[in-house]
């Protein structure tokens, strides 16, 4: 093997320019492939990351508007979830499937006031688990706890944006202060992080407190719960069919009306996301491969010319004892070495380009009103992709060398030696 590489080394050194030009096509192909895949991964990562704030492995249901008339009602009727739905969700028939009913929210807008300063807020009756659900990071104090719910305490969590308005200069001093929300005073127990562009204005207070003060009715805005033991798309769909189907019956929504009751299932969303990611990655692979093919054709083309130029050399080699197999492996190995070497170079450049993307596009956020999203998060390719690409290069090199090698192996020594 070492001998073979020595042989190849001397021919490649002999034709530096040609070798470099041939290699460039392959480098370019692999460079594009890696950069495309990296950018695609970055895009998917960003999509996943942005979704993460809303979706976890839980199911949320919310009343919406009907899209078709049913049971004597006209279409476009507002559906309002209520205590019955919550009781149904908490019911014994779902024991083992529905775990924690982690939140039930109700909300209304409110004006926050402290010492003559005002801020607009969105009062929300929440359960303690909502913090995890919304992925809220506390800047100071704490989130709501079970005791707040039990004792229907008048406590409130505000955002950093609120705190900055109400207590300029020293937002954290707001903890423990009583602020007016409309007619009622709440004690601030916690401040959650918001960044500068973030316009989240939700002010969580205990769900029980909210219901008692603002909403004597049994209306429920959103029901969110975790599920156990559902491990496939089919199981999720079957569960959803039954659970949401019952809700639809309870609210006189047509069984096939998807809009009457809105469902957000983190698990199936995730599956769909993965499917989309898979499709994107496949599409990028195909694009990259097509580019690579033009590189391979280039290698093959130049190898053909090389073989023609070296006809005499192959004739000599055969006359002094080279078997067709020797010549075949010489050319194929030469092709593989060129493709692998320059392909590797292209791969490194591609990875560098991904780093560059990360440093530029990846750092730039786009403000979409209530928060900032990143176009790309960590655009890069994993080890597996790199290994696949390497394998692909070797296969590609073999293919590129095949026709020229076959031609070279068929050189007849007398004819080659006759050509002066």
């Amino acid at each position: 093997m070492r001998e073979l590489f020595h042989e190849i080394g001397s021919t490649l050194r002999q034709n530096k320019l040609r070798t470099a030009l041939t290699g460039l096509a392959v480098s370019w192909g692999i460079f594009l492939l890696i950069t495309l895949l990296g950018a695609g991964n970055g895009l998917m990562n960003s999509l996943r990351g942005n979704m993460d704030q809303y979706v976890s492995q839980s199911i949320s249901v919310e009343g919406w508007r009907t899209s078709k008339p049913y049971a004597g009602y006209k279409e476009n009727r507002r559906i309002q979830l209520d205590q019955r739905d919550l009781d149904y969700t908490n019911g014994t028939q779902w024991k083992g499937t529905i775990g924690n009913v982690i939140s039930a929210t109700a909300s209304s807008s409110v004006k926050l006031m402290l010492e003559g300063r005002y801020a607009d807020g969105w009062l929300q009756g929440q359960m303690p688990f909502q913090q995890e659900q919304d992925k809220l990071q506390m800047a100071a104090g704490r989130f709501l706890n079970d005791q707040d719910i039990r004792e229907q305490r008048k406590v409130m969590v505000v955002s950093m944006a609120h705190a900055n308005i109400l207590s300029p200069g020293n937002p954290k001093a707001l903890i423990g202060r009583w602020i007016n929300a409309g007619q009622i005073a709440f004690r601030v127990v916690g401040i959650y992080h918001t960044n500068e562009q973030d316009f989240r204005r939700s002010c969580p207070i205990p769900y029980s407190t909210y219901k008692k003060i603002y909403d004597r009715s049994d209306k429920v805005e959103t029901i969110t719960f975790t599920v156990d033991g559902l491990n496939s798309l089919e199981e999720h769909e079957a569960f959803q069919e039954e659970y949401v189907g019952t809700l639809r019956r309870m609210h006189d929504v047509a069984p096939d009306d998807k809009r009457g009751i809105w469902v957000m299932n983190g698990y199936t969303e995730n599956l769909q996301m993965n499917e989309a990611a898979g499709m994107l990655s496949t599409a990028l692979w195909i694009l990259g491969m097509l580019t690579l093919i033009s590189g391979i054709v280039g290698v093959s083309n130049i190898m053909l010319i090389t073989v023609k130029e070296r006809t005499r050399e192959f004739g000599i080699r055969k006359a002094i004892g080279a078997k067709p197999g020797n010549i075949l492996s010489l050319i194929i190995t030469e092709s593989v070495v060129i493709t692998a070497l320059f392909g590797y170079l292209g791969m490194l450049m591609g990875m560098l380009a991904c780093q560059l993307l990360d440093k530029t596009v990846g750092q730039r956020g786009v403000n979409i009103g209530f928060e900032t999203i990143h176009m790309m998060v960590n655009p890069s390719v994993d080890v597996n992709t790199a290994l696949n690409a390497t394998l692909l290069l070797i296969v590609a090199g073999t293919f590129a060398g095949m026709v020229p090698a076959w031609k070279a192996a068929r050189v007849k020594p007398i004819e080659a030696l006759r050509a002066e």
Binding site: R2, S10, G321, K323, I414
Partner: protein, 238 residues
Amino acid sequence: MALIDLKGINKTYDNGQPLHVLKGIDLSIGRGEFVSIMGASGSGKSTLLNILGILDNYDSGSYHLDGTLIKDLTEKQAADYRNRMIGFIFQSFNLIGFKTAVENVELPLYYQGVARKKRHDLAMEYLDKMGLTAWAHHFPNEMSGGQKQRVAIARALITRPRIILADEPTGALDSKTSVEVMGLLKQLNKEDGITIIVVTHEGGVANETDKIIHIKDGMIGEIEENTRHDAWGGSIIK
């Protein structure tokens, strides 16, 4: 049995029009002989040489080389026999341009799978024999014609072949160098007992050999014993 034994060799080329090149060649050459095959161009001497060198096949007859029947070989077998039994010397040297002298000489052993170190040592030994030690690491285009032909001779000898086939070995050389190269072949034959067959159309070159086989129109003509080297006035000068 003689080293080379040809019986009723026929060869026809068919390039649109059949061309009967060799018409029943019977020839035997013994071990240690120094022979030349002479003929005008088109006489069939090159074809005969190609058949002797297992570079080409024949239509009918038989060719035994050192007792082995050379017939209907696969390319792989032919390559193997060429490598082990035959050393070639060509008119245009046929050295590989991007390899140094010593790498060129090593090449036949590379195809035998001989280890690099051993190969290199042996190649240096043969180059030394040709008086080319100082030129071992030079490329062919840095050498004179005579030097190149001596590298080629070293390459032909390195596998210790049964026969050396030399196709117009002096064709590209000036007369002084021609004398040297023929002297070298003669010396190899006398001192090392190597069987050498020279194909030429030059009387002066043929005269250096011990036996001259004339070939004409695809048939063996006169076979001259030439141990006194006086067939052509004893001169190699063209």
